[in-house]
Amino acid sequence: MQVKTTILSLPTEEFVHPGTRACTGCGLAIAYRVGLKALGKDTMLVVPPSCLTVLQGLFPVASTALSGAAERGDNFIYFCYDNEGYMNTGAQRSGTTPIGAITANTPFKGKLQQKKDVPAIMAAHKLSYVAACSAAYPLDLFDKIKNCMHLPGTKYFHIHIPCPPGWGYDPRYGIKIGRLAVETGYYDLYEIVNGEFKLTAASEKLVEKRKLVPVQEYFRTQSRFRLLTDAQIADIQQKIDEKWAGYYNKDE
């Protein structure tokens, strides 16, 4: 088994400079920074209009292009940072906004629809590598990038990135909130290597522990979820429990 990277063994060379235009406390730079440490110097980034460069990300604009490139097997790594909304335009709903979240254009009822499962869509392209990561688990991200670099064709990374203004929380809690999303089983860290699904890092440990933090704990950290009713939260909790029952079953 591959040795897991630790803070002390993480390369110290930096490829991102301070002075980005990202909002205070945005987790995106963590992903960029750790991602580039893994990829190394010989890397070219193609950045669609997005928060860090100040402009929209994957979901409406480029999903056809990504699907096309993945189907052709173009050799590249796609990093989709998921801040769960159109954040650079002021936090409107997107395909990956979770159900119940208040956004700038779902102001009174919250989003009525489910979050789109983009990594599953990408996995359906039968890619050599698909990963779900989080800015709160940078070392997991680092190791996954290292794992996939030798694999052929298109590799897809989904990175959950807390967004202080879009989600409604004090910037200092960004990493804690990202971690809570994982510890509640709401957002899972995993990789799919040549079709083989495997939970990783904290999500993998949750299978051993058999104990999830109640999802309510996650929702109460962010003002965007303030409209969720107890019944809705119970419904979401039930769905999480069912998903995890499946993981536990596989483990046995």
């Binding site: 991102v16 400079h17 301070p18 002075g19 205070t24």
Partner: protein
């Protein structure tokens, strides 16, 4: 003086800090380290460095003691929140004198 002789005809930025400006001016609270609580300081050897890992602005050094580049630190407070020994506290910028801020 205009840009007539500029070497490019496109928007072309080269690497270097500060493309988003001196973002330290965004800060309302400043991280202050208590070395007596900081793990690598106490042990005087490489350890912990969680503040360095999670800093979204790449302004905390991986040194003993860890140093914050106040020219660019936006004051998000993630380092203070993540520090396992609570060695970093966020202090209101108003508490620092004018010279301090320079």
């Amino acid at each position: 003086m205009g840009t007539r002789n500029y070497r490019r005809k496109t928007s072309h930025s080269e690497h270097g800090p500060g493309d988003g400006g001196r973002t330290g001016s965004w800060r309302v609270e400043r991280p202050v380290l208590d070395q007596s609580l900081c793990i690598p300081c106490k042990r005087n050897k490489e350890a912990c460095f969680i503040c360095w890992l999670f800093c979204p602005e790449i302004v905390i050094s991986r040194t003993i003691p860890p140093r914050v580049d106040l020219e660019y630190c936006k004051g998000c407070g993630i380092c203070a929140e993540e520090c396992p020994t609570r060695a970093i506290t966020m202090v209101d910028e108003a508490k620092f004198s004018e010279e301090d801020k320079e």
